[in-house]
Subunit: 272 residues, 2 copies
Amino acid sequence: FNLNVLIVGESGLGKSTLVSTLFNNDLYPPKPRKDPAAEPPKTVEIQSVTKDIEENDVRLHLTVIDTPGFGDFVNNSDSWKTIVDYIDKRFDNYLDAENRVNRTSINDTRIHACVYFIQPTGHSLKPLDITVMKKLHKKVNLIPVIAKSDTLTDEEIENFKRRILADIRHQEIDIFAPPQYENDDAESVTETHEIMSKVPFAIVGSTQQVQTADGRTVRGRSYPWGVIEVDNEEHCDFVKLRQLLVRNYLEELREKTAHTLYENYRTEKLSS
Amino acid sequence: FNLNVLIVGESGLGKSTLVSTLFNNDLYPPKPRKDPAAEPPKTVEIQSVTKDIEENDVRLHLTVIDTPGFGDFVNNSDSWKTIVDYIDKRFDNYLDAENRVNRTSINDTRIHACVYFIQPTGHSLKPLDITVMKKLHKKVNLIPVIAKSDTLTDEEIENFKRRILADIRHQEIDIFAPPQYENDDAESVTETHEIMSKVPFAIVGSTQQVQTADGRTVRGRSYPWGVIEVDNEEHCDFVKLRQLLVRNYLEELREKTAHTLYENYRTEKLSS
Ligand SMILES: Nc1nc2c(ncn2[C@@H]2O[C@H](COP(=O)(O)OP(=O)(O)O)[C@@H](O)[C@H]2O)c(=O)[nH]1
Ligand SMILES: Nc1nc2c(ncn2[C@@H]2O[C@H](COP(=O)(O)OP(=O)(O)O)[C@@H](O)[C@H]2O)c(=O)[nH]1
């Protein structure tokens, strides 16, 4: 059961932390301390980590693909190219594998979801966000999240989400939504609505165990003025993101990739 | 008594809020809600607001210059140009005024300080920060601050400050420090050290009055997990920034601008 997730966002938005939080273990080795004399990278890189994890008795062969350098340059005009090429290459590999004589067990390395990190400015999407999301939304299931949402008060999050969704609608950007079927039972309709009404998810990540004021030990961030709890739905939407990715819509993400995004790519490629 | 302060940083780092917090009143009119269909600006703009304020019985003719658009484009290679041109133009105006026959009362519009907002990534300075600070540091008193520092825990702030200062030293960027004199009394040496040991100031801004858990009403930000107090030095360095700008080093900022930065500019200009 392959799940390939692409993580996109500028440096310092808590991407590595979120990945470790999602899979409840430090997926990445600790980052080396940056030497001030070190030359920063000149192009966007692709880094991928694979791990077998178990979720609800489902064994997942999880690959997380990070994109260090994205959005970090003075000039980010080409930031998206490396990423689009990478997604296309996975489609091409699948196309080749499908065309072989022996294709009983194709290794599915296509990207099933792209988590896009939005900087918590409080205003709305940045030009770079819009540019990149428009390059990606037809090729991958796009899941925008508000990074480091503990920067924003509840009221600011509500306004920010509204403005982001207005930008997304205005720019005609497709973001992932699970298909709804006529015969869905009431419970699953409600559950879908509960998860999707929180999009874009306001997330907080942490692998640190901290003490709350009332003595509980939780994953969170400890400030002089209080402790934010990652798994507390009153504090952020982390739980919802996790449910979407590895519990409720795992199948939908893979199917939409295989039956819609890949097929569209294949059709375009073969007819050009 | 003129004080002209330039505010530089990308959108959403809390610059307008900080300006209003510094001068304890809403210096800017409330921002209009951005229409998603609105075309974002294509170049960096200069916006300036002037107000007479009173500080410690000193009447200040304060001008705050904002730079909307800075750092907000996909390609920010020219982000600094408008700002450097603006600073140079103030120097040129002063040069012209100095050369007139009647120069008894020159209006000093030179920039006395530039507060540079660093995004709280937790890592270190971004390429844009370094590029811009190097363009500005010989022309204006540079005061770097960590924006929205309530995003970072105390430990993260300490590490971040250390890495920023290492970058600044390595890149040979001059940041404002008040001159120290042989005959300074012990109290002023201690006071200088207390303020300067906090650079870059980790700031938080807010003009909202909120209730703390123990019932006090303070300027701050109210989160579900706690209230951060702007004027509480255990929570952030806002008080230190304010002391530097409008209390302790007001004279030093104006003198260094007049006697060093302006004179260097004048010498370069007249000898080229
Ligand atoms: N406020 C806040 N800080 C976070 C969060 N997640 C990570 N951080 C901190 O942000 C800094 C950068 O995190 P990192 O995961 O390395 O970001 P990346 O560069 O996007 O991979 C570190 O100091 C983290 O502890 C979060 O949800 N909220
Ligand atoms: N977490 C945090 N948010 C802040 C702070 N100051 C302002 N904000 C919020 O950040 C958002 C953008 O602030 P604004 O002052 O308009 O930023 P500007 O674009 O740099 O002028 C608003 O929602 C503010 O309430 C701060 O110190 N900490």
